[in-house]
Amino acid sequence: MAVVGVLALQGSFNEHIAVLRRLGVKGVEIKKPEQLDNVASLIIPGGESTTMAKLAQYHNLFPALREFVKMGKPVWGTCAGLIFLANKATGQKIGGQELIGGLDCTVHRNFFGSQIQSFETELSVPELASKEGGPETFRGVFIRAPAILEVGPEVQVLADYTVPTNKVLDSNSAVEMREEKNWSEEKVIVAVRQGNLLATAFHPELTADSRWHSYFLKMASNVLEEASSSIVAVGGVDLSLNKQPKNDLPIFQ
């Protein structure tokens, strides 16, 4: 089972499939519920979570996705995918949107504001660096990104981000953050893991650094020990990270 499903309703699914291909793993597009039967792990890409939720609803994907999560199969959500996996999301559209749930946390949708507030930053990622090697930081691309305000006891925090005080935040997010006890006011969580669920608020699929993808693939292969040998490329991922492309552009297929 060396194939990974990528939810392909809308958003950056091509980018995820391209990164998987670079790691020697096949990514398949998932657009219908029955296609989930053929994959052992799933990536929910970035995109407009409202749009993706609508499309998932039209095709009755939510029951199948919830079942997938409940069976303990590895699922990774980036940005919109994180919102999908969260048990609770704030800042939604009028009438709300359907979620898959499973990840014990509260997510604030579009936490950082509009596109002008989108940014790039070097995140400290100790867990990732210890498992996958490479530098201690990861280039996080945040695009109208959500942030995790609150996590349950079983959730492991993999990365957080200190919001610069001059950053303009919408007022209600500041209020909600004050209710938080464990973190100082300006810190938000941007990457978490709970069992076989992985979630990042930023977009590793837009960068040349594929460590998050190989981290996820290892999670997937640990679940299927019997099949672990079939995901050959994972163990041998070449971490010579100096092969960064010359320019800043995202990697298109």
Partner: protein, 311 residues
């Protein structure tokens, strides 16, 4: 992206903080990447924006008049009233785009100030500067620009556009020009891919595009930014046609809210873009959508060609 090399300051330092606050090009392109596989709809008020959001549009374009009305009523078409854009922004959670006139960088500054997510420097509005486009490197907000062929696309990207849409012919409900422009871009890229590296210099000269971007396009095998289709898409089949021709997504202007049943048609077009390669699904979503918008036949020379307003 070599955008660091181009820093032009307008109005004697009016935008002096550009270097300090500039968003990297990757972040600008990033939002466009998040819109891939989606539909961006023209809306003229908050209710329409809500309809579009509920139908699953991945962004809305806030306008005072849809292109079909601009065509019918004539007159000078300008940037939308910022108040209206703010109302639309409040009504929805999806990204909100707005149009600025070609070359009118102050309209773009205003749009940036009210926090729109993307600015469309659009030929659908009356041109403000017949010679120059906006220097889009000076802005933190990303831009989408129209093109009819590969050369035009790469010139816009060099000016700082982070997303490209083929122009088509807005407000006509006629997809013929959209097909022509997409075919032209895709055809040129196919020619470029098979070209010897030595020939790229002359090719760049021929299409009047910067050599480095032409070479990058050759290496990537596609435009270096996200490419949407626009101008004349009126049915789910039109939208799927654009996707099958290789576009990353679709703009629908007058096609939705000038039709008999906007909510239903909007939803059908969104589904058609997701399932663009599945004829069974396309057949299903195309059924019983009510009246499509009235189209304009483009064989008539009297119909003004918006696409020709800029080079």
């Amino acid at each position: 992206m070599a955008d660091t090399g181009v820093v032009t300051v307008y109005g004697n330092g009016a935008i002096y903080e550009t270097t300090a606050k500039k968003s990297p090009f990757s972040v600008k392109v990033g939002l466009a990447q998040m819109l891939r596989g989606g539909v961006i709809m023209d809306v003229v008020n908050a209710e329409q924006a809500r309809v579009a959001e509920e139908a699953g549009a991945c962004a809305v374009m806030a306008l005072e008049r849809v292109p079909a009305d601009i065509r019918a009523q004539g007159g000078v078409a300008r940037m939308t009233d910022p108040q209206l854009i703010k109302e639309i922004k409040q009504a929805v959670t999806i990204p909100v785009m707005a149009k600025a006139r070609i070359g009118h960088f102050v309209e773009a500054q205003i749009l940036e100030a009210i926090g729109v997510d993307y600015v469309d420097e659009s030929e659908v509005l009356t041109v403000a500067d017949e010679d120059n486009h906006i220097n889009k490197h000076n802005f933190r907000v990303p831009f989408v620009c129209g093109c009819r062929n590969l050369g035009e696309a790469l010139r816009r990207i060099r000016e700082g556009a982070a997303m490209i849409r083929t122009k088509g012919e807005a407000g006509t409900g006629n997809v013929v020009e959209a097909v022509r422009h997409v075919r032209s871009v895709m055809g040129d890229i196919r020619v470029l891919r098979n070209m010897d590296d030595d020939e790229v210099f002359t090719f760049a000269k021929k299409i009047s595009a910067p050599y480095d971007l032409v070479m990058q396009t050759k290496q990537l095998g596609r435009l270096p930014v996200v490419q949407f289709a626009a101008g004349g898409v009126a049915t789910p089949a039109d939208a799927a046609l654009m996707m099958q021709l290789g576009c990353d997504g679709v703009f629908v202007g007058s096609g939705v809210f000038k039709s008999g049943d906007p909510a239903r048609r909007a939803r059908a077009i969104v589904q058609a873009v997701t399932h663009y390669s599945d004829p069974d699904m396309l057949a299903e979503v195309s059924c019983g959508l009510g009246e499509a918008m009235v189209g304009i036949n483009l064989n008539d020379d009297k119909v003004e060609r918006y696409a020709n307003r800029s080079e």
